[in-house]
């Protein structure tokens, strides 16, 4: 326990790192240090937040390069490099920037829609004809895309805080989707009750799957990474089976469920022209709820203690096994809510691919969000924006949507390797071990 070979300044052992980041929320709450001082420190010390922004920036630069150099016209221009050197570079630049501009217009704000709005004779006709809606449509789409990512991201982030790696957001999503969909078309209830019942059904369906994982770990020691992966397979095939049998839409031969009832839909927030719906609010409320649970309650204290040091938690009298079950139950429920948001918010029915890649996007969102609720919200919005803008980008610049997947992967790659980012930008390696811990520990 005494002196070790000091690889760096002895006053900063690696184990001390993660908490600095975690504690900042609490610190600023207590008002001991000003926001400015925290910001300054985090930038000076190359803290995880800085690393994340630089990771995003780097990924965008590399994505742009990839895009520019896989574009056939650009490649052609490079072929004439010696006859027209300027043209090649300009073409590459245009291609990269053009794609990002389209991505931005599709996800946040498109100036053309504003121009169109002001060309209308009167404001009321503009609203009536949907021109106003068009202005806000990109943002609405970003929120719609972000909603399931946010909920599923929380389903990974919460177990991460308790020292577990939930690879099973996919199976939990499917569990929630099955129950929510069934309640949506198979049961008739009064309007508001029906909606609430379906949302709760989504939660319960996911929670059941999460509970299985937690219970297996608590009772038999089965590692959650293994059990969640296996459950993913089981649920994918169970879904196919159900959709081909009891849940198949009458008159169809493909794998698809009936439409859910109208009163089971999550209400739109700003009229029917914009797809943004109450699911987004549910997701934000869940993010707040998870934050509150983790940092303001005794079970959350237990979860975090168990995540950081299960043996000390046990010695302190905490019931580690019960916490595992509880965490996985809640996490599964959150992933199930993501399914509710998709089915009841936008899709209206369940098919054999409804689960998409949410389960795995959830892992990247949680990683990028450093496993913390606010981080997950921001990460989900970023990835939601990518997803929302990608179709317009493809339509306008014929950049393949896949570039968005590459971007996401690059971001997470850089976030997972903070020393790489720090090396690129020559940041001082200080107390930024939080990200390294996130990437390394959960898998260990």
């Amino acid at each position: 326990m005494s002196e070790q070979v000091p690889p760096g300044p002895p006053e900063s052992p690696a184990s001390g790192g993660p908490a600095t980041a975690t504690k900042q929320e609490v610190k600023s709450e207590a008002g001991r240090r000003s926001f400015g001082s925290i910001l300054r420190e985090s930038i000076l010390e190359g803290n995880s937040v800085t690393v994340i922004f630089l990771a995003i920036f780097t990924a965008i630069v590399i994505g742009g390069l990839l895009n520019a150099f896989t574009n056939t016209t650009v490649l052609h221009a490079w072929g004439n490099l010696f006859s027209a050197p300027g043209a090649a570079i300009a073409k590459a630049w245009d291609t990269a920037i053009g794609a990002y501009v389209a991505l931005f217009e599709g996800s946040i704000f498109n100036p053309h829609t504003v121009a169109a709005l002001f060309q209308q004779a009167s404001f009321s006709t503009a609203i009536h004809d949907g021109y106003l809606g068009a202005v806000f449509n990109p943002l609405s789409e970003t929120c719609v895309q972000a909603t399931p990512l946010l909920l599923a991201g929380l389903a990974v982030a919460l177990p991460y805080q308790a020292g577990m790696f939930n690879i099973g957001a996919q199976s939990q999503f499917i569990g929630g989707a099955i129950l929510a969909t069934y309640l949506g078309y198979g049961v008739s209830l009064p309007p508001v009750v029906h909606l609430i019942a379906c949302v709760l059904g989504g939660f319960v369906g996911g929670a059941a799957l999460g509970w299985v994982v937690g219970e297996l770990k608590a009772r038999t020691g089965a590692h959650e990474v293994i059990t969640t992966i296996m459950l993913n397979y089981i649920m994918v095939y169970l879904l196919s089976f159900l959709l081909g049998n009891v849940m198949q839409r009458p008159g169809r031969t493909d794998l698809i469920s009936p439409f859910i009832a109208g009163d089971a839909h999550l209400p739109h927030l700003f009229g029917s022209t914009l797809r943004i719906n109450a699911g987004f609010l549910v997701a934000l409320a869940c993010a707040f709820g998870v934050w509150w649970l983790l940092y303001r309650t005794t079970p959350g204290f237990e979860f975090r203690a168990i995540g950081k040091n299960p043996s000390a938690a046990r010695v302190a009298g905490m019931n580690v096994e019960r916490s595992w079950v509880l965490v996985m139950l809640i996490a599964g429920g959150l992933a199930g809510l993501a399914a509710s948001a998709v089915i009841q918010g936008t899709e209206s029915s369940l098919n054999f691919q409804s689960y998409g890649t949410y389960g795995f996007d959830a892992i990247t969102v949680a990683l990028l969000g450093l496993g913390r609720p606010l981080g997950v919200v921001l990460a989900a919005l970023l990835f939601g924006a990518f997803h929302a803008g990608a179709p317009l980008m493809q339509a306008q610049t014929s950049t393949p949507v896949d570039i968005v997947g590459v971007l996401e992967a690059l971001i997470v790659l850089f976030v997972a390797a903070p020393p790489l980012v720090r090396a690129i930008y020559r940041l001082r390696a200080a107390r930024a071990a939080g990200v390294a811990g996130l990437s390394g520990r959960g898998l260990a």
Binding site: P6, G16, A19, T22, A30, R32, N309, A316
Partner: protein, 519 residues
């Protein structure tokens, strides 16, 4: 070989770990480096061993300046190091470990195992090390593993051997053996640099003592210097080495352990029908060589390990099958053996660690809501009361020194209402100043009527604190003695040679408690 360090300075950022340190070691001399944890002893030795490069200063061998860029250079120059944490491959034999990194091959290209074995046997015989070259390292006791490390250095023809806290992991008997080996090495002309923070050892073995404090040399002393003198140099102020305490006034039985048997998952019995009692207002010291069931006993007392048979009662209440939380609530305070692993969440703040087993009760929470204000004010209070040296209560506890980490645990456990204090190796790895503090607090709890059970493999600690001494050997108590018992007798009990004493220990030791007032 005459080794000299001149003006060695090593900085880590703004921290000066070594500040112009001079040190010279002559052949056949044992030079002790004495200092508290963090005084820069290990840094200095890492500079000497080529693991770190000094920012200033030079290393002279026989008057010639040398530069070590890696341990390879240092080894080539005849410097060997036995690290505090052994650098051995557990699944290899001693001989294989010794050749690791300098494997010799026969002309056919195969490893020359025979030569390695011969080397080990030869050195083992010459210095009386008694190491079997074919034994797997993982099956050897730490004392023998350490000799494997020494052989490793000797095979590489080390004429200066650095021993970094070599006794930290050894039993008293193993320490004696090590000292005998050091004596033989010395006689053969090897110089030894002996790093330690234990005063008695340094006095016993050293020819010259250099005391370091905060990275700088405080002075050089002969071994005839008194303990108080050395301690004062180490800490920078005068330290009280003996715990001043009044005679115990034992009250009612608080902890009653009856016929306790504890086994591990594999069915191995660690605690075998043990019975003892601890009364309020007395300290029972449980002595014994590590690995005789002490860890399992304390874990069973805390409910962390199932009890196979027997009873544990606290103030007459049966706790045999209670959960850890129920026991904590019933009034057990616990200082675990491994504070990093079992006592603290090092990524948590000091404030959060102060409530680690108390967060679920008022004033820190109501319902499931944590009261952050109460947690913060509790932390501020305790940091003050227990003199925890930390930047703030929000600092992660992992960034504190060992002594301050232990104070955080003490502050938490003693701050809770408790009737029994179970302290396992409460001062392991702590420096003199912190040991003094911990011991004083434990005695104070006793004086407040708390029943205290100290489990320690350090006899000094047992003698300093205990009102009665029980000795544990292979899961049984081999004897209960008053603190006036001579160390030789305890040594015999610790080796299990007086097993008939077990019968004696079964009887409630109340009368012995009465006799337990001396020194």
């Amino acid at each position: 070989m005459e080794l000299e360090l001149k003006g060695i300075t090593k900085r880590f950022g703004s921290l000066v770990a070594n500040d112009r340190i001079d040190l010279s070691v002559s052949p056949g001399q044992v030079h002790a480096l004495l200092g508290e944890n963090g005084a820069g002893k290990t840094t200095l030795m890492n500079v000497l061993y080529g693991l770190l490069q000094p920012d200033e200063g030079e290393i002279l061998i026989d008057g010639k300046s040398v530069q070590f860029n890696s341990p390879k250079d240092a080894i080539a120059a005849g410097i060997g190091m036995v690290h505090q944490h052994f650098m051995l491959v557990p699944v290899f034999t001693v001989a294989e470990n010794v050749t690791l990194g300098m494997e010799e091959t026969r002309p056919s290209g195969l490893l020359d195992r025979r030569k390695a074995r011969r080397d080990v046997r030869e050195l083992s015989r010459r210095y009386g090390l008694a190491v079997d070259p074919d034994a797997l390292v993982e099956n050897l006791p730490v004392g023998i593993q350490q000799r494997g490390e020494i052989i490793k250095a000797l095979v590489r023809e080390a004429s200066v051997l650095i021993l970094d806290e070599p006794t930290a992991v050894l039993t008293p008997a193993e320490t004696d053996d090590l000292f005998r080996i050091i004596g033989q090495l010395k006689a053969a002309g090897t110089s030894i640099v002996f790093i330690s923070h234990k005063l008695k050892e340094v006095q016993a073995i050293a020819d010259t003592i250099t005391v370091l404090r905060r990275g700088a040399t405080v002075g050089e002393k002969p071994p005839s210097a008194t303990e108080d003198e050395l301690a004062a140099m180490m800490v920078g102020r005068s330290v009280q080495l003996t715990v001043s305490k009044e005679a115990a006034r034992p009250g009612d039985v608080v902890l009653d352990v009856e016929d306790l048997t504890v086994a591990d998952e594999t069915g191995r019995v660690w605690v075998n029908g043990m019975s003892f009692q601890v009364r309020g207002g007395e300290i029972l010291g449980l002595a014994g060589v590590q690995g005789n069931g002490q860890t399992e006993l304390t874990e069973a007392l805390l409910g962390l390990r199932p009890i196979a048979s027997g009873h544990v009662r606290l103030n007459g209440r049966d706790l045999t099958h209670s959960t850890p939380r129920q026991r904590l609530h019933a009034g057990v305070a616990y200082i675990p053996e491994d504070r990093q692993e079992d006592g603290l969440v090092s990524a948590f703040s000091v404030a959060d660690n102060m409530i680690l087993d108390n967060y679920d009760r008022p004033p820190f929470s109501s319902g499931i809501n944590l009261d952050l204000g109460a947690i913060a004010s509790n932390a501020a209070e305790r940091v003050q009361e227990f003199d925890v040296r930390t930047q703030s209560a929000d600092t992660p506890v992992g960034m504190l020194s060992g002594g301050n980490q232990q104070k955080v645990i003490l502050a938490r456990e003693l701050g809770r209402e408790h009737k029994l204090l179970v302290a396992s190796q409460p001062t392991r790895g702590l420096d003199v100043g912190s040991i003094e503090f911990v011991h004083r607090r434990i005695v104070r709890q006793r004086d407040h009527g708390v029943a205290v059970l100290i489990v320690s493999s350090e006899l000094d600690e047992i003698y300093a604190l205990a009102d009665r001494i029980a000795v544990m050997y292979e899961g049984r108590i081999t004897g209960v003695r008053p603190p006036s018992v001579p160390v030789e007798e305890l040594g015999l009990l610790m080796a299990g040679s007086e097993v008939h004493g077990a019968a004696q220990a079964q009887a409630p030791a109340a009368e012995q408690a009465g006799a337990g007032e001396s020194s």
